[in-house]
């Protein structure tokens, strides 16, 4: 009886959830509702509490009267879960979450005409497939960055040219093997890095996108990762633990983010980063609006605010990413300058294959291996299966 009641309740809830999705796109802005609730990555929305120099909230609140409430989430999946629960207006979703949110009708189409700064957005990002479906925009770009190859400059006098240093056993320039001295990312999306490597080294597999893999291509990627498991002592998922491993654990090469490279360099650790010839994967985040958001006017005002050159400039410096408004690199509106943009990878956009959620119905070849299998299989690979 108890179970039956629960089932009825959950069914009713899921029906209620899907109803919300039919809400129409907004056509005109009204007055602010006094607050906006945002799910964001840690460090994404700063109000000067961590470092007084980095504050892009206080002024917005004063100007619009919209109080900004931030709930931080540590993984894309936490973000999806929070958005499924509801009660938020916006989310800074990465490409491996955004399509899930759109497919699940958790976010609504936005009207770019209501966002005056939309025209300033990097044209390369305006119609990006991780937030644009059937020509409809489901959010405004927020920040992007590449997953670069970080390496120890003592061991590599010259930057490694290929990702093979982390994928295949070999002797490094210092004469010792790379076994136990390289790392890989501890997340299922890393399978895409292996697939990207195979695009160059096993072209006969016919991979066109590392996020769209058929059974054979997927199996080849897993095999590559199984070989890599023999080289990797510990996979990394926490940026700070990776930095510690570069300092104390003798790790000399790994896929990484500009954030870790910048921090380690500032501490005087001998590291640098490079973009190998196979290209890199990367993340691109989008501010998306919940279907049936309670504070849509404030949400639109916030989206407009996030595209201001000043905010983009400071955010890119703070987080180690690239602004989605290219002018922020050069117009001196904040702390960013052209050299900083180059260091964070602004010029290699075309080489970046951005994180996208793998889905079973894929554009390139009809049937692909979906994300939930990436999760269980990557757990198995790390476990030595």
């Amino acid at each position: 009886m108890m179970i039956k009641k629960l089932l009825v309740a959950t069914t009713a809830l899921s029906l209620a959830g899907s109803n919300v999705a039919w809400a129409d796109m907004m056509t005109a802005l009204g007055a602010g509702e006094g607050q906006v609730d945002i799910v964001a990555w840690p460090g994404y929305i700063e109000r000067g509490e961590t470092d007084a120099a980095y504050d892009w909230v206080t002024k917005f609140e004063a100007d619009t009267g919209c109080k900004v409430n931030v709930k931080t989430a540590n993984t894309s999946d936490e973000m999806v879960a929070l958005m499924n629960e509801g009660g938020f207006d916006l989310v800074t979703a990465s490409g491996d979450a955004s399509l899930r949110l759109i497919a699940g009708n958790r976010v609504q189409e936005i009207n770019t005409a209501l966002i005056p700064s939309w025209g300033n957005v990097d044209p390369r990002l305006q119609d990006a497939p991780w937030h644009t479906v059937d020509g409809k925009h489901y959010g405004t770009p927020y920040l992007w960055g590449p997953n670069v190859l970080m390496y120890n400059t003592d061991v590599f006098p010259e930057a490694p040219k290929s990702w093979s240093v982390v994928f295949e056993e070999q002797t490094l320039p210092d004469g010792a093997s790379n076994k136990g001295r390289v790392q890989a990312y501890d997340g299922p999306i890393y399978i895409a890095d292996a697939a990207m490597y195979l695009m160059t080294h096993k072209p006969e597999l016919g991979i066109t996108s590392p996020y769209e893999l058929n059974e054979d291509q997927y199996k080849a990627a897993l095999d590559l990762l199984r070989g890599q498991r023999q080289l990797v002592s510990r996979h990394w998922h926490d940026a700070y633990i990776q930095m510690d491993d570069f300092k104390n654990e003798g790790v000399v090469a790994s896929g990484s983010w500009p954030f870790q490279v910048n921090v380690l360099e500032s501490e005087g650790v001998k590291v640098a980063s490079t973009i190998p010839e196979e290209g890199v994967t990367g993340w691109a985040d989008t501010t998306m609006m919940q279907a049936g958001a309670a504070h849509p006017n404030c949400a639109y005002m916030w989206m407009e605010h996030t595209l201001s050159s000043n905010l983009q400039s400071d955010l890119a410096v703070w987080f180690g990413g690239n602004p989605v408004v290219p002018a922020a690199c050069t117009d001196g509106s904040g702390m960013l300058d052209a050299a900083g943009c180059t260091a964070n990878g602004m010029d290699i956009f075309d080489k970046v294959r951005f994180w996208t959620t793998p889905v079973s119905t894929c554009a390139s070849q009809g049937e692909c291996v979906p994300y939930y299998r990436w999760v269980s299989d990557y757990i198995a690979v790390i476990g030595g299966r």
């Binding site: 999946d77 136990g180 001295r181 299922p188 003798g250 999760v375 757990i379 790390i382 299966r385």
Partner: protein, 303 residues
């Protein structure tokens, strides 16, 4: 008459009313928040995930439990259980002599020193201790440094060359995970054993000796059986805490998942709540078996 006095009279005439008032809040807590959330968890584990859309299907099925027996998932359960068992055995072996000395020989200041020494680590943050251990065990950490200084590097290399439990450095091997587990849960083993040893009457030990028992016989037939409830109580702590922990193996070890991490990954990363719930039920079942075994050994007879 004031309200307080009226109430006081009523409680005196109907003692059950007072009892009910006092018991309802804790029972509600236990029933709704504690047991209720466990039941909700149990219920989730009988649902399954739709392989195509990744959405949860709210139909009762045993399919999710079946998935636990896939080799990669089964590995996780075995790995965690074996680790918990080894950590428990090692904790007993190390804690017993310490507790024995503290209970029977240490007096006055020495006893205080023992108490403080055991309790002190509990006062600092668990995370601080684990991160400290990461540095101690690191490839370029204190242990490697000391071993090199003592010209014992070959010994460390030999240990790390062991199959399965070895690795590139202590901090990325099962040995490291094991050492840190034993360290972190040690006080939970020492304190119950010490408490039980203190209740063993000295007269019994003397009587055993007077009747001609060797020290070994006295230990086997007098001290150990009387200390068993303490050992079992301690082992319940170390065993269950190791089964459920997901932070230590994440920071120290080879990235191979333990049950707690599998729950976190399936729930957080994959959105596969049914499988996460099924994983979470596993330690509950193992602990039920464990407690049943402990009861059969007579561990709870003294309660």
């Amino acid at each position: 008459m004031s309200i307080a006095a009226t109430l006081s009279d009523r409680f005196w005439r109907q003692p059950r009313l007072l009892l009910a008032l006092l018991l309802v809040p804790p029972l509600l807590w236990l029933g709704v928040i504690y047991i209720g959330s466990l039941l909700a968890l149990l219920l989730q584990s009988f649902f399954s995930i739709d392989e195509f859309s990744g959405l949860i299907k709210y139909q009762l099925t045993l399919k999710t439990y079946g998935e636990l027996f896939r080799p990669s998932n089964y590995d996780i359960i075995i790995r965690t259980t074996v680790m918990a068992a080894l950590v428990t055995l090692a904790s007993i072996a190390i804690a017993f002599p310490i507790a024995y000395y503290a209970a029977r020989y240490a007096k006055g200041r020495m006893k205080v020193l023992f108490y403080v020494g055991v309790m002190l680590p509990l006062w600092s943050s668990y995370l601080v201790k684990v991160y400290a251990w990461k540095l101690i065990l690191a490839k370029e950490g204190i242990i490697t440094w000391a071993m090199t200084g003592l010209h014992l590097q070959w010994l460390l290399d030999a240990v790390l060359a062991l199959p399965v439990i070895g690795g590139n450095s202590l901090s990325v091997s099962y040995i490291g995970t094991f050492i840190v587990f034993v360290y972190v849960w040690m006080p939970f083993m020492i304190l119950p054993i010490q408490a039980s040893l203190e209740r063993v009457p000295a007269t019994l030990i003397e009587a055993s000796g007077d009747l001609g028992a060797e020290p070994g016989q006295t230990f086997r037939h007098v001290v150990f059986p009387l200390a068993l409830p303490g050992i079992v109580a301690g082992s319940i702590f170390t065993f269950s805490l190791t089964l459920g922990d997901y932070i230590i193996p994440q920071i120290i070890g080879s990235s191979r998942l333990f049950i707690g991490q599998a729950v976190y990954a399936q729930q957080g990363t994959a959105g596969n709540v049914p499988l996460a719930a099924a994983f979470a039920v596993v330690p509950v079942l193992i602990m039920c078996l464990y407690l049943w075994g402990a009861r059969r050994m007579g561990a709870f007879d003294a309660l």
